[in-house]
Structure formats: C-alpha cells, structure tokens
Symmetry: C2
Subunit: 159 residues, 2 copies
C-alpha cells in the first residue's frame, strides 16, 4: 500500500520559490504543525502530521494529526467534539513546517488539560534559575473537565 | 562543562499543572519553537532551541535558536539586523514546545528568503493531487534582497 504522493525536493529554488508542495518529513516520517485560532491569532497547539494526516487534512478541511503517544492518526476533536475547521493552511520556506489557521467547534478549547490553548503558562524572562521555579499561569480557568470528556483514556503527555 | 539546569520531569501532574520549567528536549537535544509577531499574531517562523539557546533567550530577551544546518547557536538577526525582542515566552502543557511572541527590529522580516513571514505560501484545500502543484503565494514582494544581506553565506534550506 503506498501513501499519498507529494512533490519531489529537487533544488533549493524549487522548494523555496516554487508552487510544488514538497514537504520534508523527518526521520520518523513527521512534519511539525503550528495551529492558531483564525479569529484571534492565538497559538492553540503544536503537533505533528505524517503524510496520511496531511492528506486527510487537505481532503476534509478538518485538522488531522499524528499522535506520537498513540502512534496513530488523530482526527482532532473526534472524542471531545472540539474539531478544528481549517480556514487556511500554509507551509514555510523550506517546507518542513505547516501552519493551520483554524476555527474550533464548541467551546473553542484545544488543550487536553482543559485550557483554551496548550500554551497557558509563561516563562519569566531575565534569570534562568528564577524562571525554572516560576512559570506563570496565563489562563485561570479550564474550559472543560478533562475527566468528564476523556474518562479513562491515557493521558498523551509523555515524561 | 555542564549546560543550563532546568527542572526534572517527575509526574504528568507536575509537568502539566506545576510552576516548574521542565522542558522536554528530543533525542537531538532540541525543542521546537513557534515564533509569532506580538503586534499582529502572524506566524513568523518555526525553529528549534537546545538548552543553551533557551537559557540565552531567557537571559537576554532576544530570540536565540539552534541552527540544525549550521549545528550552532544562532542569535537571530546577528547578520541581518532583524533581531527578535521577546515580548512574551510561553510553554505548552507537556512542555515539549515553546511559543515566542516577538517584536522584530528593522523591517520586521523574519524569513531568510526575504519575505516577512516564512509562511508565504498557502496550500489549497480539497484535493491532494491538485494541492501538490498549486501552492499559492500570499506575499507578493520581498522585504529585502537576501543576496545583499547574506552574500555568499550557505542557504540554510536542506533538501
């Protein structure tokens, strides 16, 4: 069984200045994906796609990722209902990163911990030793109860 | 010589809900970084930091990355003058991705090809075969001439 076919990477000029979609997947077959809220520009999450997830996202206009913890294609929102409708999808200069601008269904949350964005803590600047002990919560309330939504499903966070 | 010290990763709860900065570096010692323009929310670039680059960014409030092509710490803008002043720095739930909200010096460009954002091409949605041949340029003009700025420096894009 062969996967979806993307363009070949022939030259720097073709990759950077051409109209051919020639994504570079890493040694694990993945490409990083940056997902922002189309309405606000807020960064919601950072994930990964394999070639199949990229193709499914193009075909359906709903965000599909590759779950490294579950080792499977992941249709975002299939469990929680918080699907991500793709408003615009872009690729960077050397085609090794994807940007999804999405509109999220329901409450608009995108984080399995319950927050709106996965990036709910800021790092104080200036001194490394002080920063290590003082992450600051920028979101004060969860938008949903993860236990109610996910039940006993394994937490995707890996130590 | 030991590098900068970040927190230990003890439990999922501590990583997700704690105040300790305990970043997860991958097998190459890197963590992905999403950089957006603080003023507009536009995604400027997707890069990587090692522990030293993360520490230098905290200490100086100027974005430092790790260049995978040059295999060296990279003070963004050291050559072009387009430094990135960090307005806010955040980390995600499982602490394996960093978000930099920056204000860019000079013209505000962040892409070595000359465009403002590295993400200057969109992927048309609906059909994979059509998408592969039809990337669409969303920026029409370069903000600087890469040859004038970088001269004979090797292009960082890897095929």
């Amino acid at each position: 069984m062969s996967g979806p076919t993307f363009g070949p990477r022939i030259s720097i000029e073709q990759v950077e200045e051409g109209k051919t979609l020639a994504p570079k997947f890493d040694s694990n077959g993945l490409i990083p994906v940056v997902t922002t809220a189309a309405e606000t520009g807020e960064l919601l999450m950072h994930g990964y796609m394999n070639a199949e997830a990229l193709a499914k996202t193009i075909e359906t206009s709903e965000a599909h990722y590759y779950s490294r913890s579950r080792k499977a294609i992941w249709h975002k929102g299939a469990t929680s209902g918080l699907t991500q409708k793709v408003v615009e999808m872009l690729i960077d200069d050397d085609q090794d990163a994807v940007w999804l601008r999405v509109s999220v269904a329901g409450s608009g949350a995108s984080c399995h911990v319950g927050y709106r964005s996965c990036f709910y803590r800021s790092i104080p600047m200036g001194d490394v030793a002080a920063a290590v002990e003082n992450l600051k919560f920028e979101e004060s309330e969860k938008t949903f109860d993860p236990v109610a939504v996910y039940g006993d499903a394994p937490n995707p966070t890996q130590l």
